[in-house]
Symmetry: C2
Subunit: 485 residues, 2 copies
């Protein structure tokens, strides 16, 4: 265990939300397109190996699962309850949860503090019952949890509309989102992209389990390599704790936060959406920086960065070598690398001489090294071997244009080999259509993050340098004095 | 005809590069993976309806096509020659071209001015012969031309590696690229994305046909709705002409230029790659602005913008209404819209009243209008009808999260209907996986540009406003004093 429990948020019972071996769906229903049906459908899939119970006084069975009037009627232990009933009856449901001795409840229902005074009263009531009886709550007003290992899945969205991500053997990302719609859209998108995901949590109104609790939990979770957040703001008291926790966690694994509500108009929209005050963005920016949190502008950047950080080691310095078989891609990427505040130093005279001895005379020996359009993987090999041996560079950015048939698929193995042998981070940029996309998927199965544009590749390189600086502190070799991505 | 010939670059013969009804491949070859084989393979496909001849003294036929020792042996007219022979014999080839009376030559071979003194001499020789005999040249050192209507295709890259784009019935983009590798990668990528393309031209060393000539030509080309360029710099004398021409063309259709070499390091890389001096980026930026050219930072932005400009009318003002079924998406997009310098004004009291009469009370009536997660297309209909009638907005940005099954596919028809009826530009943002991607493809077949993130959607809206301002000048209703995207 990396981080002492005492220094963290409240971890009690949090594990149950991801590993519950028996789950009751309160408000289970056979009605097509109902929330109560959608959730029970997730749990009766064979991948979920725990026990499932339906709770609803109106039915004796739902989709073939025995259905009970109350939790207390269930003949056996229940570790987690998913609450999908109207807000007004949730206090009664929580009395039942307490009586059954269940420790974890995901409340997907809306109609609580986000709707006004009466809703806030109901929320206060269930929180009071939960506190008194040691029940942890995720929600209300959320879509809950997806765990790709245990197959706990409370997302009440049909799989044909909202694909479910899988875990990867290489590296996995976990995401905590204030917005349920974003949690769902990202789950769907990650499924389509084949991005390795461990957990997705939609926190909703955060009446109990909050960002800080999950940061502690995911910080210790061995199946999570990178922790990602989407937030629109923090509770006044809790924000501080979150940043204190982050300061420790970010020494162990990268934490990336997308915080919306930068502009004045968005702040208004956020207030009306979640009721939470977005707060001053400058204050937040300083806090993120101090805590070692990486803060991209948007989701696309978040996942471009997370993919690199999950698959590759952090960089030990900011010196980038680029090699490419397309000169234009070299120019565009060099622009982007410079804009990111990374260093792309020229090759030394010694290294140049070694390149010149082994590369055709029409190759461009600069940085980028242009092995030109008729290159096979052998020229890349030369560049990797000599540049790694020279120790002049900390990050390798590889332009791999596959439109030209002279570059055979063995290039993928060569890149993966040099990356693993050197221990230095490698990023691949491969721009194109069907063949290129498939080759990129192959690269990523080998653990090399691959991007469709020079700008994305440069951003990924920046993330590896940025996290290297966070992790290694003064040992990080910084040659450029510069800023944020 | 929109633009008088006299005010433009040299259009003589340019049409032939795209519409040649008879083509000779000089250097045609049966050798697998040779350039001479790859090119002839393109022209013997049934889609190309013109005549094809092979020229190579070593063969009497190539891939079943009759092969002649010289052009003059060909029994019939030849409108265009593709030159794929070593640079040193190109002067002889050009004498043959002149003797045959051919007016257009695409020189794909390298080994000219990009390689040094001897190459420059060879380039000067063929240019001299061409000038004297009225031959237009594209190249040398390029991949030439793809025309999706005539199926002229000189890209010597096999289709399994480099997909070929198609024209669309909705709207088409043409691209002129200094870099052949980028031209190929973009062709491949556009094919995969299903983006409508009319023409892709790789200009190479621009010994004759240049950016300006093609700007004039594409400006008058009825199958091109948006003109895109990738350039690393302009010839000292020609840059001026290009901007003069652009000033006129941009009144008729959008021109978008990605110019690399912003930073100092990239400029060095560019110099070594193309031999052209990238020049001062500030001077270029001012020239682009004055000429009404839109200048994104990179290709991704270029095509996100081009798609919107090709499919939708330019905006007549900068006031954006956003409607969404996901609050978080509303917040993120609002941030991006504000950062783009667009206006997102609150709904007027009158419009609010009309919304309140027709929408459920738990919808968020602000801007963004949040029709919330259980919305069907009827709520979107209300927002469109009332907001269009109010005339308070110039651009509609529609958040369409399809993870929730309550939003049926009829939403696509409703959006397309309101867009076409209102005459105002519509942009859709739909984030997710497989189902979402297919729905986005359907939207685009109906002419509504669809984006995977709020930031891309905001950029597209900005492009429509930016071009509206270029096109309508003082008639454009500007409510925000702001900046570039």
């Amino acid at each position: 265990m990396v981080i002492g429990l005492e220094s963290c948020g409240n971890l009690t019972g949090v594990d149950t939300f991801f590993k519950a071996k028996s789950v009751a769906i309160y408000g289970a229903s056979p009605s097509p397109n109902s929330v109560g049906q959608a959730i029970i459908q997730n749990f009766i899939k064979p991948m979920y190996e725990g026990k499932v119970y339906a709770v609803n006084p109106r039915y004796s069975s739902v989709l073939g699962i025995p259905c009970y009037p109350t939790l207390q009627d269930i003949p056996g232990p229940v570790e987690m309850v998913v609450v999908a009933v109207p807000a007004r009856i949730t206090p009664r449901v929580f009395e039942d949860i307490a009586a059954k001795g269940v420790g974890a409840a995901i409340v997907v229902s809306g109609g609580f503090s986000e709707t006004g005074t009466r809703g806030t009263e109901l929320e206060d009531e269930i929180v009071a019952i939960a506190r008194k009886n040691g029940i942890r709550i995720i929600g209300p007003n959320c879509v809950g949890v997806i765990d790709t290992h245990s197959h706990v899945d409370t997302f009440f969205l049909p799989e044909y509309r909202c694909g479910r991500p899988k875990s990867s053997n290489v590296a996995n990302i976990s995401l905590v989102s204030q917005s349920g719609a974003f949690a769902a859209a990202i789950a769907d998108w990650a499924a389509e992209m084949g991005l390795g995901i461990s957990k997705i949590v939609s926190l909703g109104s955060k009446c109990d389990v909050d960002d800080d609790d999950l940061l502690c939990y995911l910080g210790e979770d061995s199946t999570t390599q990178v922790i990602c957040y989407y937030t629109e703001g923090y509770d006044e008291n809790k924000g501080r704790t979150f940043f204190d926790t982050a300061k420790r966690i970010t020494q162990e694994k990268p934490v990336i936060v997308v915080k919306s509500g930068r502009g004045a108009r968005a702040k208004e929209a956020s207030m009306s959406h979640t009721g939470s005050l977005a707060g001053s963005d400058n204050v937040a920016a300083a806090a993120y920086h101090q805590a070692g949190i990486i803060r991209p502008d948007n989701f696309e950047q978040m996942f471009d960065m997370a993919k690199a950080l999950a698959m590759q080691p952090p960089a030990k310095g900011d010196r980038v070598l680029m090699v490419t078989n397309g000169g234009g891609l070299g120019v565009m990427t060099t622009d982007a690398i410079e804009a990111m505040g990374l260093s792309q130093p020229p090759v030394s005279p010694e290294l140049r001489e070694r390149f010149e001895q082994r590369l055709p005379p029409y190759c461009g020996i600069n940085n980028p090294v242009d092995v030109v359009g008729d290159a096979g993987s052998d020229r890349y090999d030369v560049v990797f071997e000599e540049a790694i041996a020279s120790d002049e560079y900390d990050i390798f950015v590889v332009g791999m244009l596959l439109q030209t048939p002279s570059l055979g698929m063995e290039i993928t193995n060569r890149i993966a080999y040099h990356a693993s042998q050197s221990g230095k981070p490698f990023i691949v940029i491969s721009m194109g259509g069907g063949f290129t996309t498939k080759a990129g998927e192959i690269m990523e199965l080998m653990g090399i993050p691959t991007y469709a544009t020079g700008e994305k590749g440069a951003l990924a390189a920046k993330a590896l340098a940025q996290y290297g600086e966070i992790k290694y502190g003064k040992e990080f070799k910084k040659t450029v004095n510069s800023g944020k991505p």
